[in-house]
Assembly symmetry: D3
Homo-oligomer: 129 residues x 6
């Protein structure tokens, strides 16, 4: 499968934040879905996460907002993007404020559940310091 | 009904962006839901929109993200917050990029439908220039 | 197709509130989905709407709550059940209060959109008086 | 932060059903979100849970309906409101009937999952008797 | 409660795939919801799962698609229908391809979470071989 | 922007079913989102619609299922994929049966609304005959 420059860009960013991620995805999914790992690099990271036009911090805070408002659908992914937001320069306060705002769109249960996920991430990040 | 300083803050911000909004809400809803207009000022604007801790532009881009990802639920409100984001200093490009990112969380139909709503707002805003 | 006593109960209730409904459903859907109209009578009305154990008014207010919180998914059906609630003895105030409460679970846009639908029903009902 | 009479009403009701709740919320969230605990008292309890116009039992059954239909989004909150409904005079049968009705709006998986949550609450409540 | 031929058809299919299912449902739910187990046989299995007009394999793959796209709402039910699809002649590859397609409609988190559920089912099925 | 063989495959399929689609997307969106049209070809069509492993008819019926169950989020896209399913060899009956099944997962309102959309497509298709 030939790939595009979106793939190159996406692969570089994915490996920088998650060394070995493409190989891990390939090991887990490519047997049942040929090319899945390449798709994740080219599509999610290449066509979306590495686009210009938005500061990474804003992109990740927007993602946190959506995943918080969507509630139960987002399980582990919300925590990943909370970490991404913090590493892009968002403060814990900014992450919490974005989640808090989501009470108005996803409801209060979704907001509290997302806030609790954020607190877990914050504790983990502080432990790593 | 006595109100809090959250009410004062909220009312001031609401009227600055939408002159006469409290009276309009009162005229439409307070007969069937006593105190509804006061609640909107104190709760939505006071306790949420006028909080510190987040730039208005980021707050509105996060809101646009959530409403785009939530899809059909958000009807007219998405356009209101796209306008709010533009008036807080977001560029049309930033608004579009945030919505585009939502393809990954709310699906491609939700993203395209929100992008089309944004294009309508952009045309309206340019017409006002 | 033989039917159950659930069908009998459901058919009776459906026709009492919507004379000719089974024939209308049959005319519209049974060609493409054999037995669809019978299913609606036996399943929706027979197995659900005519169950004991809950006052009709409470059943319909619960339905209005769910449809309001679910937001965009529920289109015309919300208005049908607002009317059902009113005809089961709920006041306009009670219907509005239930919808208003849904701001906390389905978000404020879903709540306002449902409240606007309720106001349309109330105006229609008053016109019929 | 000054507060409104909605705060007073909300605080009184919250503490009556959950002694120490405001302090618990403050301890957990106010560091990262200043004023969060006050907001919960004034907004959720004051502006919504203590409104007139609806019997508590009906308000809580409507809430149970919405949380059941919304499915996975509502995690622990559904159980809280099932308990609130029971303590407001709803029978276990009425709670179960409301959840059962949600099969038609949130789908059968959401309904069964909510029913299982209700059974857990019922067992807990009976253990407390 | 008299039942229809939908009940007979549904009961036969349900017991063939899940021996003792009606009795198990009755033991768990009929005390709190009279007739619940009969309803499940007549409605879910009788009126829906045993309809003509669609190959079982296609019906179950469509179900897997919907449950994957709906994300968090569907918990245990997704795995049940993945098994049903495999037993109706779908390959693991076909199940995975259907879930993968759902990235475009339910978002990438919903898709990955459903894919992980499928992998668990596949491991279980292989262990049974 | 260099593109991958996924782009080639996707572009070919998109243009075969919708001649001029890439240019139309570029005209509408590329000014505000550089590369958007290329992304749609490479991502949606290339990485998803042209994958092996599933008959087109099954892929489109699965898509119709998800969009029907998701309800209000899917607006115009549901009709596009109903047409795609018919053109891939699905009968109107099969499309209707898939949508009907979604009553169990997305609720009866979502199902009826999707069925009505299907009837509109069927009438349009027959008019073209």
């Amino acid at each position: 499968m030939t790939t595009s420059d979106a793939y190159q860009r996406g692969k570089a960013m994915a490996e920088a934040t998650n060394p070995g991620i493409e190989a891990a995805l390939a090991a887990r999914y490519d047997a049942i879905l040929p090319g899945f790992s390449t798709t994740m690099m080219e599509v999610a990271f290449g066509h979306y996460y590495t686009r210009d036009g938005l500061y990474d911090k804003t992109r990740y805070l927007a993602t946190v907002a959506a995943l918080a408002a969507l509630g139960g659908q987002t399980g582990p992914q919300l925590k990943v993007h909370i970490r991404n937001a913090l590493r892009s320069g968002a403060t814990q306060r900014e992450v919490a404020e974005v989640i808090n705002q989501m009470a108005l769109y996803g409801g209060f249960p979704a907001m509290i559940n997302a806030l609790n996920a954020a607190l877990e991430v914050f504790e983990g990040e502080e432990a790593d310091t």
